[in-house]
């Protein structure tokens, strides 16, 4: 098998598992779980097989020479099944496979018992896995787009999975549509790029970029593709869907809305980072990243829902990746992607365990859970520490590298400052969440903390390990690229310490109360994400719906009205004409003679002047 085939096998295996999963009867939940798990496991096997093939060197994001067969041809442009893995992208695939596998296992414990529709659920996870892997391995942008959109569809399906939550279907639709807005740009960007480059492969595009000087094309396509990435990665201003998406089952949040899909935007920008340079739009990305990271960190600070805290934190952390991309530190971005994938998946699965025992997402109803659930507590603690960026955890290394890269970048001053503020805020909200969940007294009567069942427990442990160790061993991977800057590191650690200190200090004052209370009236503003949902509603959703109603009415009354009116009009004229013919012979005679007279006169007139 060629390398293309081996690379494509990576998405194909979970895809087959998904197809099989969809055909499994609803009652055979265990079989479905087994199929889903097997799909992810199979992908893991293939992943290592790919490693055995030898991957292209680092750190360049390879302009792939791995051309696959033609999938379809439109005129002189073709879509090819081109795929391959480089050393860098392998790690992205690895985190996808790992989290997917663990989520499949975790879900058995989390959902299987009392969810009638577990079978499609598992299959959808498999399908998602396949799609994400396709995004990772694809060397053809159209192929990537397939994965990209299928991910979105799976996200939609899985967010809407929980029938008990009335808001879930709406959240699912919102998630899909907001990302779809970005995808309009993404599609157009790809099409324009593909048209100009004469193909959709990274190789074609690289060649085009070296040959051509069409700066406008670069700028336009870069912006369009960035729009897609922003939508998928829930960056400002298309981030509004992500907090709502937490209506999905928690394992799904871990997989899709934290570890993988949301990071896909950053991944794609990494793969097309040359385009950003050529198009000279990195400043735009930097601005987006700055706004996103602070805005969402503030929102995380004020949220009471543990999953929303994590969701906002995801926006913020992905913004770090974007920041890295915007300064050209692509490998570092991927490094942060991988590390974030690890600790955020850990945090979400841990949150799942917490929610499972607490029966609610609200941190106000938690507290003191440390006692009866040591494994959950410790693994979550590791996760929070990594999120904060405490050494020597994975998050520490990746965040330091990002900030150092920004610091080193000539235009990175503003970005660096914002990054520091965000680090501070991150430390603060993570500490707050940690304290509110596990410390103090239980705020719900009769809530007895306990560790979850082994299906859920072991994935936590398995994720905790690399979260601790990956940073230390990262030097062995090509991901640890570049140096940490001592000044940057110092400033960062200071910010982190301040953040932790603030949170802890306030909490100490009243252990039962929420440290966020000190935000005062700003708290609701932050918690609502600066009311951007409402803004979006007013500016986009409502006008479109009004327009839709107008369009429908216009179609009925004007377009169809014209047709129906013509029909009625003709009928009416027909009635008149028929009425005119009910008269008797005298009028017939008049009609004959007058007709002859008029026609003859007309003939004379036409003969004279015609």
């Amino acid at each position: 098998m060629s390398r293309v085939a081996w690379a494509l096998a990576l998405p194909i295996i979970p895809a087959v598992a998904a197809l099989a999963g969809f055909l499994v009867p609803l009652k055979a939940r265990k079989a479905a779980a087994a199929v889903g798990t097997a799909g992810s496991a199979g992908a893991a096997v293939v992943l290592f097989a790919n490693l055995r093939l030898g991957l292209p060197e680092l750190p360049e994001i390879e302009a792939s020479s791995l051309d696959g067969p033609v999938l379809v041809r439109f005129g002189d442009v073709a879509v090819t099944l081109s795929a391959g893995l480089s050393q860098l992208t392998w790690w992205v695939a690895a985190i996808v496979v790992l989290v997917a596998l663990l989520v499949q296992v975790f879900s058995v414990g989390y959902l299987l018992k009392d969810d009638e529709r577990y079978a499609p659920y598992a299959a959808q996870i498999s399908l998602f896995t396949a799609a994400m892997l396709l995004v990772v391995v694809s060397d053809d942008l159209i192929l990537l787009l397939i994965g990209w959109e299928v991910m979105g569809a799976c996200s939609y399906l899985l967010i809407g999975h929980d029938r008990r939550l009335p808001e879930a279907p709406g959240a699912a639709v919102k998630a899909f549509l907001v990302t779809r807005v970005g995808d309009v740009g993404f599609l157009l960007g790809i099409l324009v790029l593909g048209f100009n480059a004469g193909g959709f492969r990274y190789g074609d595009i690289a060649a085009f970029m070296t040959e051509s000087t069409a700066t406008t094309v670069f700028t336009v396509t870069a912006l369009l593709i960035m729009l897609g990435a922003i939508g998928k990665s829930a960056q400002f201003p298309l981030h509004t869907w992500l907090p709502d998406a937490m209506a999905g089952p928690t394992p799904i949040s871990a997989l899709i809305h934290a570890a993988t899909m949301v990071a896909a935007g950053a991944y794609v920008l990494v793969r097309l980072s040359d385009l950003l340079v050529k198009g000279d739009v990195r400043i735009v990305l930097a601005v987006v990243a700055m706004i996103s990271m602070v805005l969402s960190a503030l929102a995380a600070l004020a949220s009471d829902d543990i999953k929303r805290v994590l969701a906002w934190s995801t926006v913020s952390q992905v913004a770090y990746m974007m920041a890295a991309v915007s300064v050209g530190a692509t490998a570092t971005a991927i490094f942060h992607l991988v590390c974030h994938g690890l600790f955020k998946a850990l945090l979400f699965l841990g949150a799942g365990a917490v929610i499972h025992m607490a029966g609610t997402n609200s941190m106000s109803a938690m507290g003191g859970l440390r006692k009866g659930a040591p494994v959950t507590f410790w693994t979550m603690t590791i996760g929070f520490a990594a999120l904060i960026g405490l050494p020597p955890l994975a998050g520490f290394f990746s965040k330091e590298h990002v900030l150092s890269a920004v610091y080193d970048s000539p235009d990175g001053a503003a970005l660096f400052v914002v990054g520091l503020v965000t680090a501070l805020l991150t430390a603060a909200y993570a500490t707050r969440a940690w304290l509110r969940t596990f410390f103090g007294k239980t705020r719900t009567e009769g809530l007895r903390a306990h560790d979850p069942n082994p299906w859920m427990l072991w994935p936590l442990v398995v994720l905790a390990l690399p979260t601790v160790l990956f940073g230390l061993f990262a030097g062995l991977t090509p991901l640890l690229h570049g140096d940490t800057h001592p000044t940057a590191m110092g400033l960062t650690m200071t910010a982190v310490a301040v953040g932790i200190g603030l949170s802890f200090g306030i909490w100490r004052g009243d252990k039962a109360a929420d440290p966020a209370r000190t935000l005062g009236p700003l708290r609701t503003v932050f918690a609502s994400g600066f009311h951007l949902d409402a803004v979006q509603n007013t500016l986009v959703v409502r006008p479109v719906l009004v327009l839709a109603r107008v369009a429908r009415r216009v179609d009925l009354s004007v377009v169809d009205g014209a047709a129906e009116g013509t029909g009625r009009g003709v009928g009416g004229i027909g009635r008149l004409v028929a009425l005119g013919h009910r008269a008797g012979m005298p009028r017939q005679v008049v009609s004959v003679l007058a007709g002859a007279l008029v026609i003859a006169a007309a003939a004379v007139v036409m003969g004279v002047w015609g």
Partner: protein, 505 residues
């Protein structure tokens, strides 16, 4: 200057006239309805056969004067004569229930012998018309074709409606023919010619030598334009073109059904052919000038016919208005005279072929439609459209034939004959580059579909409250005619080239 008369060429005319006489004799001597009926049918068939046989002998001319021949047995004439005979044969078949009469009131039925005699006289006129090539013969033939119909329309002798229809038809017809005669007289005054060929020639030249100091050329004379229009009025009356059409619904509705069928098929064919003869054969130079009016009349005819048909409640009136609309399509190709200045011969040929072909397609379908109506209603009148509700259940075969005929008149498959008829017309219109006229035809065909479909819909609808009665018993002559017309419609649908070949001759 003694004419040598070619009696072979005249054979169809002799047979038609002979049929009339024989029918009268048979009725007088034998007084058996079946025999009289058979004589008439055989006579009509023989006339058609003779016309076909004469045509196979090649073109023959007789009654020739220096200006041209009055009687030319050419291919086109033969087609018209044959179709005319066949239509008359069909109408004879359809007349059976009317002649047998209503069991309750036998006295109301038309007398068989006289009825068939008048029909045969009309046939004689039609056959002569097919071969006539001068104005005098054409006019006399048209009169012979029409005059017996005055009586025929009034032959439901106890019916006020029938008598009123007869008076109506008579008066309007007489007035129209007076107008036509005035036109013919003026035409003769201008050109000094009555033979079509000579007429065409003289019209193309200067006014006859009587007006030496004022010599604008015959076609430029306003008098010529008036004369041409007046001549065409009477013919437009025969084919029920707007505004000379209003007699048709009233007359069809009161006349015995088979006579209505004859009026809307054979009589109309006669009118169309007379129009072709005079307009294209005789008056072509003049029509270059005022041909647009013909197009306008065509447009008015199809539009008014279709619009009025939308709101009819009586079956025969609906068919009448539909046949008016059809007349519009028939006239449309002649409208291409107005299309462009440089009318070439092939454009004219296409128009003539299309007109004639459309008429043939149309009469076949129309006869089939009337055959169904007669099969359903027997000796009664056409009745309301609503009376046909549920026919599809009572008699699927009749309903099927009716739908086939109506859909054909609408110009849609499976009525392929009608489809090709429309195609032929559009082809001819565009041959003359009259796109606007083609579009008008298209729009009208759409309006037409409304009422054809409405009738078809009534057929399948269950009658209100009534239990499905058994289908009507169809007398065999009617069944035979209906079957033949339907088969002809189907065959022509798949082999329209048969018609197009002969009419293109």
């Amino acid at each position: 200057m003694v004419q040598s008369i070619d009696h072979v060429a005249l054979l169809p005319a002799y047979l038609a006239a002979g049929t009339a006489v024989l029918v009268l004799l048979a009725d007088l001597l034998l007084a058996r309805r079946a025999v009289t009926f058979a004589v008439a049918a055989i006579g009509a068939a023989a006339t058609g056969a003779a016309a076909a046989w004469v045509a196979s002998l090649g073109e023959r001319e007789t009654f020739c004067l220096p200006g041209g021949c009055s009687f030319v047995a050419d291919g086109t004439g033969a087609v018209v004569a044959v179709v005319f005979s066949v239509l008359t044969l069909g109408v004879i078949g359809l007349s059976w229930p009317a002649l047998r009469g209503d069991a309750e009131d036998p006295g109301a039925a038309p007398p068989t012998g006289e009825y068939l005699f008048l029909l045969a006289c009309s046939l004689t006129g039609g056959v002569v018309l097919a071969y006539a090539r001068d104005l005098i013969t054409i006019i006399v033939a048209l009169e012979t074709l029409t005059l017996p119909l005055y009586a025929l329309v009034g032959l439901r002798r106890k019916s006020v409606a029938s008598a009123e229809s007869a008076v109506n038809f008579l008066v309007v017809s007489v007035i129209s023919s007076a107008v036509t005669l005035m036109g013919a007289a003026l035409l003769y005054a201008v050109t000094g010619a009555v033979h079509l060929d000579q007429l065409r020639h003289n019209l193309g030249g200067p006014v006859t030598d009587v007006v030496p100091d004022y010599d604008p050329g015959a076609v430029d004379l306003p008098l010529t334009s008036v004369a041409v229009i007046l001549v065409l009025v009477g013919i437009a009356f025969k084919i029920a073109a707007v505004p000379f059409h209003a007699w048709a619904p009233a007359t069809y509705d009161g006349a015995p059904l088979p006579v209505a069928a004859y009026l809307s098929t054979a009589s109309k064919l006669g009118g169309v052919f007379a129009l072709l003869l005079i307009a294209v054969g005789g008056l072509r130079p003049a029509l270059d000038r005022s041909g647009f009016l013909l197009a306008a009349v065509a447009v008015a005819t199809m539009t008014v016919g279709n619009l009025a048909a939308l709101r009819q409640t009586r079956m025969v009136r609906l068919l009448a208005f539909s046949s008016i609309a059809q007349a519009g399509y028939i006239l449309a190709p002649l409208g291409v005279f107005a299309a462009a200045a440089g009318r070439e011969q092939d454009v004219v040929d296409a128009a003539v072929t299309a007109t004639l072909a459309y008429t043939v397609f149309y009469v076949v379908l129309e006869l089939a439609a009337f055959a169904v109506v007669i099969a359903v209603r027997g000796s009664r009148q056409g009745g309301l459209i609503a009376d046909y509700a549920g026919l599809a259940r009572r008699s699927p075969v009749l309903a099927g034939a009716f739908v086939l005929a109506l859909v054909g008149l609408a110009g849609l498959p499976p009525g392929m004959a009608g489809l090709f008829a429309k195609v032929t017309v559009v082809d001819a219109l565009l041959e003359g580059e009259a796109v606007w006229l083609a579009v008008v035809v298209a729009v009208n065909a759409v309006i037409g579909l409304v009422y054809y479909v409405r009738v078809a819909g009534v057929l399948v609808r269950a009658p209100e409250g009534a239990v499905a009665a058994p289908g009507p018993r169809v007398p065999w002559p009617v069944a035979l005619t209906l079957g033949a017309a339907t088969v002809a419609g189907v065959v022509l649908g798949f082999a329209p080239q048969l018609v197009l070949t002969v009419t293109g001759g």
